[in-house]
Amino acid sequence: MTTVIEKAEPADRLTPGTPLLEVRDLHVEFKTRDGVAKAVNGVNYSVAAGETLAVLGESGSGKSVTAQTIMGILDMPPGRVTAGEILYRGQDMLKMSNEQRRRIRGRKIAMIFQDALSSLNPVLSVGYQLGEMFRVHEGASKKEAKAKAVELMDRVRIPAAAQRVDDYPHQFSGGMRQRIMIAMALALQPDLIIADEPTTALDVTVQAQVMDLLAELQAEYNMGLILITHDLGVVADVADKIAVMYAGRIVETAPVHELYKNPAHPYTKGLLRSIPRLDQKGGDLYAIKGLPPNLYKVPSGCAFNPRCDAATDLCRTEIPALHQVLDKDGAELEGRRSACHLWKETLHG
């Protein structure tokens, strides 16, 4: 193998604010026996260094498929990218050769998965798996790699790292395994981390530990973070901005405080109203009627229209664009967009 090892140079680090990654009009579909499932239908989002973008959505909303496409780990076939661009530092990754992408994957963009137990190899020690990053990408010797693995385990606060480096994944608890996943993602100091439901499988007290650790490391290395989740609580805790997905589209984007204070899309509004709150006891919960859409037969017009209380004829026929949201005086609200024909009424009404 003649891989040239590129060292990250200081100039390589972007100043805060410039997008690190930009997804433009991405379309992904799956060809299956039952037809074509349109999982992602024109997704746009961007994330800058040091920034946390939360992608919020329920199962089948396309949030994970988008992430897998960015990482280049989508199974193709049956998956297929039909349109769009994924720009990493201005370069379209979809046009890169496998070799080029492989150099970015892991080193520049790393991913943390939901289920740490099935993401780790059960027959190899965690030290070996962590060290693999250095052996493969940096040509480190076995000894060096192991030393670095211990260092990393220390970094993610695994107690007695030096003794535990030769343990196997099953010997660790769920929270510790997720820390190992984080250590693995951090190994090569990437500038972007994609975390797909990183704490969903964990208990709340452990979830708090892991999210804390992730936030701290992100700040320290000034990494961009794409946090994919369905949990409105976790999002409120860590996100800078939010993209809400429904049926393969972004239906709303907004800075975190504004989204929770005043959502501009009926779906977001419904979601926020339908979760019970720990700090208050309410009466009946508001429930969004109906069911999430079938991706083989997405409703015409706005995909949310059959479940929306405000839907009009326009909503049933025409797919809403992702409108720039304006305040009452007509001034643009920065970073706020809504894919609803009636965003004005939703926001101001």
């Binding site: 107690p159 609580g233 929770y260």
Partner: protein, 340 residues
């Protein structure tokens, strides 16, 4: 207060651990449930919260007599049902039904919805005579908000939320008095969770059901419960009304658990005070001596390692802080007390 419909006294479930292949000898036990007592009243919802491994699902299984209790009693209307078997057990089970967590694996994929919901009638034919069953099943489908015409469909034709409704209809079929819900909404999407919770609340009103609602999501438990019990490593550490537990928790574990729940509101997130517990839950096969929480507790002292704190009302002040808590140093957390 009226006599409780279900009363649990000192319930213990240990799973023995064996060593040796030919001559097995017991070398210890996983103490999944280790001395739990509580009452459930008619029309009431008792929420049980705790993290994985705390024994809440084992508790449900023992109550249903799916697992035999090692010791202790489960009294249903005053009668101990934990030792029953055969016809007597069958008769009691008619009145205590269960709704399971996973709507994907708890329904037989090769049975139609009608057969699934109607199966309890095969075991208890007295509830619905053979001729009336189809009608009874259709009524049940209607009650849980599904189209009665779906009676011949199979589980895979339904979404997660609809499947959970099927599970609930099956639980209701025998007109039970108590339903034990083990994580009934945790496998569902947020937008569908609310529908199922509202349905459970409506059914409770309509049929005067008593619920034992087991979940790890503290917000949902608060929403649906009248009283809440908090479990840790096989023991109940605190129990009280929803207000007593959520606003005036006196056990350090409850306080940590509550503070760890992410609040779906970013306002003031920087200033939010959190108790981040160190470490993981110890193994239930080898729990710490004395108070089981002491290894992760910031209040732990010498006494905690030697003396097991009992679930009792502590001698502190008056008002909502006065409820059963199993801690030697039970006290309302200061900033919490100030805020409320």
């Amino acid at each position: 207060m009226a006599e409780p419909i279900l009363e649990v006294k000192d319930l213990v479930k240990h799973y023995p651990l064996h060593q040796g292949i030919l001559f097995k000898k017991q070398v210890g036990a996983v103490k999944a449930v280790d001395g739990i007592s509580f009452e459930l009243h008619k029309g009431e919802t008792l929420g049980i919260v705790g993290e994985s491994g705390c024994g809440k699902s084992t508790l449900a299984k023992v109550l249903m007599n799916l697992e035999r209790a090692t010791s202790g009693q489960v009294l249903y209307k005053g009668e101990d049902i934990s030792r029953l078997s055969g016809a007597a057990l069958k008769a009691v089970r008619r009145n205590i039904q269960m709704v399971f967590q996973d709507p994907y694996t708890s329904l037989n994929p090769r049975m139609t919805v009608g057969d699934i919901i109607g199966e309890p009638f095969e075991i208890h034919p007295e509830v619905a005579p053979k001729g009336d069953r189809r009608k009874a099943v259709q009524d049940l489908l209607d009650v849980v908000g599904l189209n009665p015409e779906y009676i011949n469909r199979y589980p895979h034709q339904f979404s997660g939320g609809q499947r959970q409704r099927i599970g609930i209809a099956r639980g209701l079929a025998l007109k039970p008095e108590v339903i034990i819900c083990d994580e009934p909404v945790s496998a569902l999407d947020v937008s569908v969770q609310a529908q199922v919770i509202n349905l459970l609340e409506q059914l409770q009103k309509d049929f005067e059901l008593s619920y034992m609602f087991i979940a790890h999501d503290l917000s949902i438990v608060r929403h649906i419960s009248d009283r809440v019990g908090v479990m840790y490593l096989g023991r109940m550490v605190e129990i009280g009304s929803d207000e007593e537990i959520y606003e005036h928790a006196t056990h350090p574990y409850t306080q940590a658990l509550l503070s760890a729940v992410p609040v779906p509101d970013p306002t003031g997130r920087e200033g939010r005070e959190r108790i981040i517990l160190s470490g993981d839950i110890p193994s239930p096969a080898n729990p710490p001596s004395g108070c089981r929480f002491r290894t992760r507790c910031w209040k732990a002292e010498e006494r905690c390692s030697t003396e097991l704190p009992l679930l009792a009302v502590p001698e502190i002040g008056e008002g909502p802080a006065k409820h059963a808590s199993a801690c030697h140093f039970a006290a309302v957390r200061e900033p919490l007390a100030a805020a409320s």
